[in-house]
Symmetry: C2
Subunit: 292 residues, 2 copies
């Protein structure tokens, strides 16, 4: 049971955690904190939070659990604002899409790795954003990755894990570096390809015509190119090393495909397409239960 | 009104044309032709066709309209089988995803460009295939591109155009080369990226784990990697020149993105992502009516 929860950044991710914990009866008082006053007023009116402040230091003053759900580029500022203002027993966790940069930001602000910081990442979201899109069931049957460090207090880790389980999520642990590699492959690279594809087409001389003839497959494929540009700039910068490695691997694959097409090597093309289809079909079957 | 329609290749595309024309009362007798006997028997049982033969020459013998909907790699064989067997007034059209190779195959089989050949391409499909997936409304409010040549008989062109309009489609004309460029950009390149991405992930050492953490965005993005590998091998080989050009353009875009990430140029990344999001949002808004 969390007595006082502070949510820094009351959008889809932070608001959904508040709603889920409330629905589970797992939280007492919820204070919201953010920069935009109208958003905080809306969150209060919707009953997502009990009260709000625009000052992070004030938000965390009496909290036993703090959840930070701001864009990666704003993490450092939040850590700076709350360092030295926490209760001794307070646990801090976050929802950032990259974990290495969050840990570095915390070290820069606190001067060391805070033992009661539990870096985390709920693998959930919808194409909508903002507190109005927050859902009590957003995390049900979704994965949450926590990336504890050697310095992490096991009690703090257990409490964060329990918090997510009360929201219906399945929690798994991995190292910070491994998290950032896995997400570079499954999320960051696909987003870069979608942005890159749509921009390539937009730059063609006949771009209006081209988009007219793009059918259903293209619509699905390019959906993630409608994601928030600022958030994705921050992710690319925060996860530079792992994203660069994945871009190089993908580049080698596409060079191989382009060479096969140039030399009309149908056998090699068929091998690649068949292997990709098998992986995709196996993967979709294997995770059917998560798509509902 | 078509008196005798011959459909060579009775799958999703061919079967849906038969169903749509029947529903519109725009066709008399429909003969199906294909290599797999069980599929033809199923098409007959479903009422998609009135009778069938496995011999293309026999199928076209009395037909006034012939629709060829076989994989691109099988086009040449069909043209060889029907050359010299057509009624003088018979019109031939097709549903191939690449038009340059279809015209070359026809020239190779007929010895010249048949004036009553109208190359065409319905921009439609579902993730399913086969005659059981055929729908009378598959082409409603979808685009069909016809690519007449200087040699094409205007009466034949008008009749093919009318046939598709009776199915509820919107028909547009473009040159063979332009069609192949537009489709390389909007369909062939995205499919190659999806195959390439899924194969890149499948080849990672920890591929099982990676796919476990792939969330909703990845599922949408990679759906087209479940497409038929043989069909896509044929398309890549048939449209080598235009696909190679688009792969090179996309490669340059990704090199630019990778360089920006390496040198942490957030401003340039934001420019690209913002332009891509604007194009995607404009495109989705602009074609809302087609997605229903």
């Amino acid at each position: 049971m969390i007595e006082r929860l502070a949510i820094i950044g009351v959008g889809l991710i932070g608001g959904s955690l508040a709603r889920a914990l409330r629905a589970a009866g797992a939280v007492g008082d919820i204070v919201g904190c953010g920069r935009a006053l109208p958003n905080l007023e809306r969150a209060l009116a919707l009953g997502v939070i009990d009260r709000f402040t625009q000052n992070p230091a004030e938000a965390v003053a009496n909290a036993d659990m703090i959840f930070i759900a701001v864009p990666l580029g704003a993490m450092r500022g939040v850590f700076d604002a709350i360092a030295g203002r926490l209760q001794p027993e307070a646990i801090v966790t976050d929802g950032g899409s990259v974990k290495g940069s969050v840990v570095l930001d915390a070290v820069a602000a606190f001067g060391h790795i805070p033992p009661r910081l539990v870096p985390g990442h709920p693998i959930a979201g919808t194409e909508h954003s903002g507190v109005e899109a927050a859902l009590a069931n957003l995390y049900q049957q979704r994965r949450v990755i926590v990336t504890p460090l050697p310095e992490t207090d096991p009690v703090a880790l257990a409490r964060v894990q329990m918090m997510w389980e009360r929201c219906g999520a399945e929690v798994t642990q991995m190292s910070v570096a491994h998290h950032d590699e896995v997400l570079a492959a499954t999320s960051h690279l696909p987003h870069l390809l979608a942005f890159g594809l749509v921009d390539t087409l937009a730059r063609l001389r006949e771009n209006d015509e081209v988009f007219q003839y793009a059918a259903g497959g293209f619509r699905d494929f390019s959906r993630i190119a409608s994601s928030n540009p600022v958030m994705w700039r921050d992710i690319c910068l925060a996860n530079r090393a792992a994203v660069s490695t994945m871009l190089a691997r993908f580049g080698a694959e596409m060079t191989d495909l382009a060479d096969s097409i140039r030399r009309a090597d149908g056998e090699h093309l068929l091998d690649i397409f068949t292997r990709a289809k098998a992986a995709r079909d196996r993967y979709v079957d294997g995770t059917k239960d998560e798509t509902a």
